[in-house]
Symmetry: C2
Subunit: 402 residues, 2 copies
Amino acid sequence: MPQKKDILIQNLLTKGVSRIIDREHLEEQLRSDKKLRIKFGIDPTGTVVHIGHAVPILKLRAFQELGHQIVLIIGDSTAQVGDTSDKDAERPMLKREETRKNAENYLAQFGKILDLSKLEVHYNSEWMDTTNFNTVGELAKNFSVAEMLDRDNFSKRFKAGIRISLQEFLYPIMQGWDNVQVKADVEVGGNDQYFNLLAGRPLQEVYGQSKQAIMTFNLIEGTDGRKMSKTYKNFIGLSDAPNDMFVKIMEIKDELILLYFIHCTTLLLSEIEPYKARLLSDENPKYIKMDLASIIVSLYHGEEAAIAGKVYFEKVLTDGIVPSEEEIEKAYLDTKEIDLGNLLKEIKLCATTGDVKNALSGGSIRVNNEVVSDSKMMISLSSEKGILIQMGKKKFRNVFLK
Amino acid sequence: MPQKKDILIQNLLTKGVSRIIDREHLEEQLRSDKKLRIKFGIDPTGTVVHIGHAVPILKLRAFQELGHQIVLIIGDSTAQVGDTSDKDAERPMLKREETRKNAENYLAQFGKILDLSKLEVHYNSEWMDTTNFNTVGELAKNFSVAEMLDRDNFSKRFKAGIRISLQEFLYPIMQGWDNVQVKADVEVGGNDQYFNLLAGRPLQEVYGQSKQAIMTFNLIEGTDGRKMSKTYKNFIGLSDAPNDMFVKIMEIKDELILLYFIHCTTLLLSEIEPYKARLLSDENPKYIKMDLASIIVSLYHGEEAAIAGKVYFEKVLTDGIVPSEEEIEKAYLDTKEIDLGNLLKEIKLCATTGDVKNALSGGSIRVNNEVVSDSKMMISLSSEKGILIQMGKKKFRNVFLK
């Protein structure tokens, strides 16, 4: 075996990996010439993909680089049921159209990491729509009520008297059924998916297939050290503008730096060693974090954007200087007149009307350096001279008519 | 309202009835001119129908006599899942062909009680085959894990650490789904079906239908006072020969006489009163039991057979006399030579090879008045003179070549 492949396999099996079942068999298969089918399932229940979601996608990239087949399952059926593995309550169900739209949006963002042309993509309604009640029964037979209730989140809710619907028990079975359909050799996912991933194995055995290996990862924490989540607004989105992304990475707690190197970059473990050494030295962690931010921004936006992001960060934050017009991100809208509230959403400084309201009432919005609080204020755009919109201390946009 | 109808409704609502939900609404509907849809579901998991099974069928007859539509659901799908309401463990699943064959056999026996020409019969695979995974999820959403585990049999097993498969939780949902499909107004069943019957109500509500009424009955006990069951050999089968049926009814414990009058006859409550009075008097219960046996045999085999049964019983059992050739049931086989073991099975004195072995080793089989213990003994049949086979003191067959 060439040394390079060996190194890649070792990295694949260890870097950022929490659990593998079973590792010996997986390693053997990786060392063979077999093209493995690596399954990853997503429930397109939202629109934002953040670098926490990207952890398994980066692992898929490592599999793809070794020549394996990535099989992406878009759970348009499962999304309707709703996974509650990591939740304390039942989840509202999504309409199928909505999930399809979300899925396309997800895929576009995954394209920043994976070679989409080599992907095998399935919507699981392909088979779920024709799986009938008896088959569901046959599948359900392989799982016991006790083992379901043993799952941490169900067990907690059951003890607390919080309703668990029978539908929720069907979720892992649906996911396992996906794996039988696509004959997965390996499935990857977050640690919160551990039990769901396991569900594929007995079903594959019943249907005469080899049991898939599973590989799970720790969830990475958000900029504030809490779980990365849209709710906490502590996430770094794959679609964040380069400068914003740079700044957000600079905001993470120092103790997260190494974890981000491991989980959020494509560096080999040997390439991370020097940063580990620097973190143990007397060096100001800020400089190591700047290298981290450059690496991550470069991954998603290219090297140039990473250099620009670094300059931006140094100017705005370190020196407290408003950036020059060329350094500020430009936004183009195709309307001459727009009210401030909608403008803030169009240029993605705010995601919702609620965000707009909060930002305006908190006095953190400036238009051409003046604080403004009226969301109805009409803004006239021109293609010659931009309108400078500032949110807080760190975010700038120069808005032009397209 | 004519007095007759009023009496029939009162009997319908009270005779042998354990629980009704909700009674007020049901009574109102019965008093209206509405033709109600009365659902009864059977899982054709065996071949024997005994008079315990007949309890709800007799109630269906009462509904039928009042002009309502009986809707019989043959659970060829549910039988594959297996109901474990009254079981302490999972149940093996039946193949669909087998359930169809059983169902036809059941129906033939129900014809002794119901007007089959007025029956609406459905196999539930009609809709189960096209009910897909998402719909199962939608249905399952209406039930919680906690309420399922609250069921007596599940709760016991869960506490005892006996496996409950998820498939078993799907059973009441399937049954409830049947009720939505046929738009049942009323469902009847044994008390052991109480929870399953309830499952129809929330689902009907979700699908915009009125919630069905439900009516359940106590299970009647077998001849020995234990639960009537094939296993205990304490059942009276609808297909039992008239004389055998008469004798078996004479074997029931005296304290069961009134219950059998209520549950196993079509008598009105007012017609049962005199027997109740006789039971409280000094009369030997044997004579009341003989009336009961005559009434039940008459229901299934006609009045003449009932009279013959009574004569047979009096002669054989009371006077200890072997019946005359004319009085003994005749059996016809189309083979000239047959060994004793197979003959005992063919003429239905024994059900299994195990039964044969027990009867022979216990010395209870006589061939032409001689005790025989060899199952391999060859018997030659003729069409002129029968071979007299006797089992124990009470059962005789005169066997001829066809």
